[in-house]
């Protein structure tokens, strides 16, 4: 299932958090060879994990991490603006643009996991008035994004071939969302339930109870 968890609430999901940071180490350090820091616990964490970002995480049935991504508002500090500003001709700052980074899939994750994460991104856009995501991605992700039908517009790139790193832009598209849901094997209704589980429901029944 999809979980939406602020960093401050990761303590409620210890196994999920532990396996997420380890899977990030495996993906970014071991497999992609990025210059990232892995701590003594084997966690890949950076300064942006300390800014209470919102994570969207695919949780496997055994409670472990299957894939995840990390969101921060661009009116605050972001990796794109602080480390990749030269690729995008100046900072991107707006209340309706969020940064999405550390898109990570556990080793051997099926393509349905990547699609499910994109579905979660769509929920965020629709429910929180976010119009675009801006993010950094590796050349090897291009194929995965294309496969799940969610290719970004590229704002700028550095490097060549496999080592190319790009800043990309995602936007919401209703038709694409339906295709992504299909690929994720998650009915929209279910997706909405997961979202409501994390952020509370607006349903009448709930209100009747609380009013």
């Amino acid at each position: 299932m999809l979980r939406y968890v602020y960093a401050s609430d990761l303590g409620d999901h210890p196994k999920l958090a532990r396996t997420m940071f380890r899977d990030r180490a495996d993906q970014f350090k071991t497999r992609l060879g990025w210059d990232v820091h892995v701590d003594k616990d084997g966690y890949e964490r950076d300064e942006y994990d300390d800014l209470n970002p919102l994570y969207v995480i695919w949780e496997e049935p055994d409670g472990s991490h299957g894939g995840s991504m990390r969101f921060l508002p661009t009116i605050g500090r972001t990796m794109v603006n602080e480390h990749f500003g030269d690729l995008i001709s100046g900072p991107i700052t707006s209340p309706v643009i969020w940064e999405c980074t550390r898109f990570c899939l556990t080793r051997g994750a099926g393509s349905h996991v990547a699609a499910a994460l994109m579905l979660g991104g769509g929920e965020i856009m629709q429910n929180f008035g976010v119009e675009h995501f801006v993010g950094v991605f590796d050349a090897r992700m291009v194929r995965i994004y294309r496969m799940i039908g969610s290719s970004p517009d590229v704002l700028g790139s550095a490097g060549e071939g496999r080592d190319q790193i790009s800043v990309g832009l995602w936007h919401f598209d209703e038709a694409a969302a339906a295709a992504v849901a299909e690929r994720a094997g998650v009915p929209m209704e279910r997706s909405r339930q997961w979202f409501d589980l994390a952020f509370g429901t607006t349903s009448r029944r709930e209100l009747a109870r609380t009013a």
């Binding site: 602020y6 401050s8 209470n52 919102l54 921060l72 508002p73 009116i75 605050g76 995008i88 001709s89 100046g90 900072p91 991107i92 700052t93 707006s94 209340p95 309706v96 643009i97 965020i124 429910n127 929180f128 008035g129 119009e131 675009h132 801006v134 517009d153 704002l155 832009l169 936007h171 409501d196 952020f199 509370g200 429901t201 607006t202 009448r204 709930e206 209100l207 109870r209 609380t210 009013a211």
Partner: protein, 233 residues
Amino acid sequence: MEPILEDLEQAEGLAALQSASEEIRDHYGVDHVVYHWVDSAGDQYGCGTYSDVWRDRYLEQNYLRVDPVILGCFQRFHPVDWKRLDWSSKPARTFQAEAIAHGVGNQGFSVPIRGPNGQFALFTTSHSCDDDVWAAWTDAHRRDLILIAHTFNEKALEFEPDRAPEQSQALSPREVDAMTFLAMGYSRAQVADTLSISEHTLRVYIESARFKLGAMNTTHAVARAMSRGLIVV
């Protein structure tokens, strides 16, 4: 909306935020507009249209510690319909009943903002109506409310004691290109084509420029960029 925000930007001090919140309330026809923030030194400020009686009561009872809106928004950054918050505890329910009795309304929508150096703010609209009416209203105005919230916060940040001199509102080269062609009357499709970028990418440059210029929409942003001499047509 633009004249209201224009006034807000020109005006000085807390009084400007107060009168803007009243004007916004009237413009949208909602019961209340409230903006409050905690600055980087930890001091609290607020303005808005709640009654003095309710404001005093809230402070005296230290409802910050009970209010589900505060608890649900602190350290977060997604906008919240109050219905989604957890009102289930007894203190929360008591608080809610009292808030409604003081005319706050049974509905609310709050936009939390995490500013620099621990600054934190909340921009709220509240109203008395049924769920369907409120859902339709927030759907229609979500974007405006988010933009207004940030305009308020930009103003509030000016009050920060150690505020660095206004960071220049310089536009990036791409933003200047986009604004310039729009000012020349090109359509978005033509601008995108001229710059060899997609229309979605263009939208991001326009949006980013709009925010830097404190404008509510593209037309307003282009006008501001011109009047400030940031673009020359």
